[in-house]
């Protein structure tokens, strides 16, 4: 019994169905401006929020964590929602970024600021190395191999105590950043917050340009008609590899920041808990609905904090929520907004024309 993947509709999976464009579908330029508006709005709100919050360190901390995961969620969504690459090893890139930066600053005494660059670089390089063999395979094999990579990384980091990963306990404490004699500390979240915001903006910008540039358009072309796109000289392998590298870079960057922000890295980052949180952030925000996944990250971090007292039940709830979301709202919040808008528009289109309105002589 061997696996084969017939392209025709065989009842196991129905073929790719494309929705016909709605009569009142907005032109692309306008759609783009909604995206721009949301990104700009997020940046402005986040930049001004500390003024409104005063010195609530706790809320600030939640916001910093949200921005870290928001960046990762955007990076992951580039692969899942735009490039159609079922990568399940995203947290692996995050851990690699975190470990690189922490190991450089703790074992080699290198300034943590360089760790940001180094973490991003290793994240990107490892992602490309994983991508090189994986991207030649069919989608489902990518999901299998990247999950295996993710699952094996924690044992490897535990075994790797010899090269300075700190084994099971990880590395702690990790030196915080310092600038011109001022050292960042937990008691004042403002510097952390604005640094995180800067990195988050980097992720938003990379995501935005990756989606709206020629580069992002090539994925749309490949999705619509692979052979035609290829005849125009678009190589799926090359663009996929590029976007995997880019995604790994963003994730590694956030990982590096995370290591110094929390002051500890251990194989626990690779825990299932973190993974499922990331999944639900992206699902809730909407896969392929930039910048939805980032908004999903903010919501999940705050809801999770709010559900703190349910402790043991939290993951149970989130697990069930993932199943329900996949079944009922596969495109998340942003997808729901889209379909409501589409329904409203359809209604408007089908409204009977008032008599005499059009037949004026």
């Amino acid at each position: 019994m061997t696996a084969h993947m017939p392209d025709m509709n065989d009842g196991r999976t129905s073929g790719r169905r494309k929705e016909p464009p709605l009569p009142g579908d907005r032109p692309k330029a306008l759609r783009l401006s909604r995206q721009t508006g949301m990104v700009m709005g997020m940046i402005v709100i986040l930049a001004l929020l500390p003024l409104a919050l005063g010195d609530s360190n706790y809320t600030m901390r939640l916001l910093v964590v949200s921005m870290i995961w928001g960046g990762v969620a955007i990076a992951w969504d580039l692969l899942l929602g735009y490039a159609g690459i079922f990568n399940l090893g995203q947290i692996g890139f995050f851990a690699i970024g975190a470990y690189t930066s922490a190991m450089l600053s703790e074992n080699a005494g290198i300034n943590p600021w360089w760790g940001l660059l180094a973490g991003a670089a290793t994240g990107g390089i490892i992602a490309v190395l994983i991508g090189l063999p994986c991207l030649r395979l069919a989608g489902i094999y990518i999901a299998l191999l990247t999950l295996a990579f993710y699952e094996v990384l924690a044992p490897l980091l535990t075994v790797g105590a010899a090269i300075g990963t700190g084994g099971k306990r990880g590395i702690s404490p990790v030196t915080p950043y310092s600038i011109g004699g001022y050292t960042f500390s937990g008691s004042n979240q403002i510097p952390w917050y604005y640094l995180a915001l800067g990195l988050f903006i980097v992720c938003l910008a990379v995501g935005f340009f990756a989606i709206n540039s020629r580069f992002g358009t090539s994925f749309v072309a490949l999705h619509d008609s692979e052979s035609f796109a290829q005849s125009l000289g678009i190589s799926r392998y090359k663009v996929s590899l590029l976007i995997v590298g880019l995604s790994g870079l963003m994730t590694g960057l956030m990982g590096a920041f995370y290591a110094h922000y929390t002051g500890v890295v251990s194989p626990r980052v690779l825990g299932l808990e973190v993974f499922i949180y990331l999944v639900i952030m992206v699902l809730l925000g909407g896969i392929g609905k930039f910048p939805g996944p980032a908004i999903g990250a903010f919501i999940i971090i705050f809801v999770n904090d709010w559900l703190r007292e349910f402790d043991r039940w939290r993951l149970l709830i989130f697990g069930a929520l993932v199943v329900i979301m996949v079944m009922l709202a596969p495109r998340g919040m942003m997808g729901a907004i889209d379909s409501v808008q589409a329904a409203v528009r359809r209604r408007r289109e089908s409204r009977p024309v008032e008599p005499g309105a059009e037949e004026t002589p």
Binding site: M1, A3, P6, D10, L147, L316, F318, G319, V322
Partner: protein, 292 residues
């Protein structure tokens, strides 16, 4: 040398149990195109249900454990297929949706175990005590019982696939779903039965391996990954490939565990997987993993 052969025997036994676990996974994909990421959780559930019956609440005989737990696992599989997988089949991105849904299900099931049984590790006692000497080798009864039971299940599975109508329709669907539907095979029923059988096999593996490893609510993930590696190495959807890969990796596990310690097992498995994929990108007996 004698020790080495004993290790080989252990590896062979682990191999056949891994085969049971992995073949359920590959069957599910080969027939129904379902990659079940909740597979590890079914493993955990099998082990915990066995614990409930044999240790926790009713100290029943081991034999009864199988008779009670396996049908429960089968019904669980049917229910998951009907409630979660079937409604997703009309989706354009069916495989990806199933992947995410089963991932959520896995977290749900694992944490249900955690809420019910608590985070402390549990262990099942061995089925049988003592050991036997065969031709100078010492083999524990436990290992022999494990081997015998796994062998029985594997043989029953092969006969089922080869001789019964249901088994034949499963193979037909795996080969050509359109053709199978034309000759009147009820596709959705076959999908459901396949899913049930796959969770049953996984539960059987859980019961058999529970006395060997400690049980924790998140312990199933290791076995999901092991099943994944075996299945990729053997070729996704191929039963023959799964058989060979299980034995190769089972024996490797025994040798590595004996020489270097269990922590090194996964890195070595990865190395072997990597080498196999370099030579044959679709696994040992896979048709094709490359895209069109």
């Amino acid at each position: 040398m004698r020790e080495f052969i004993e290790v080989l025997i252990t590896g062979f036994t682990i191999g056949i149990v891994y085969f049971l676990v992995a073949v359920g996974f590959t069957l599910c994909y080969g027939v129904g195109r379902v990659l079940n990421y909740a597979y590890g959780s079914f493993f955990t559930w099998g082990a915990y249900l066995a614990w409930v019956i044999a240790v926790g609440y009713a100290s029943l005989n081991y034999f009864l454990v199988f008779i009670v737990v396996l049908p429960i696992m089968f019904l669980m599989g049917l229910a998951v297929d009907q409630v979660i997988i079937r409604p997703l089949r009309s989706r354009p991105e069916f495989e990806f949706s199933v992947l995410l849904a089963t991932l959520g299900l896995a977290v749900f099931l694992d944490n249900l175990v955690l809420v019910i049984f608590g985070p402390r590790t549990k262990s099942l006692p061995a089925f049988l005590e003592g050991s036997v000497k065969i031709g100078g080798f010492t083999i524990s009864w436990q290992l022999l019982a494990m081997f015998a039971f796994a062998l029985v299940v594997a043989v029953v599975l092969f006969v089922f696939m080869a001789k019964t109508r249901t088994g034949m329709s499963m193979r037909a669907v795996a080969q050509d779903p359109v053709g199978a539907r034309i000759v009147g095979i009820p596709l959705y029923r076959v999908f459901a039965i396949t899913f049930g059988i796959s969770t049953l096999l996984c539960g059987a593996g859980g019961i058999l391996l529970a006395p060997r490893f400690f049980m924790t609510p998140l312990g199933g993930w290791t076995f999901l990954v092991k099943a994944l590696i075996i299945v990729i190495a053997g070729g996704l959807g191929s039963i023959k490939g799964t058989l060979y890969a299980s034995f190769i990796l089972g024996i490797l596990e025994a040798i590595v565990g004996w020489k270097l310690g269990l922590l090194w097992v996964m890195p070595f498995w990865f190395l072997v997987l990597f080498v196999i994929l370099l030579v044959r990108p679709a696994g040992l007996f896979g048709a094709t993993a490359r895209k069109g």
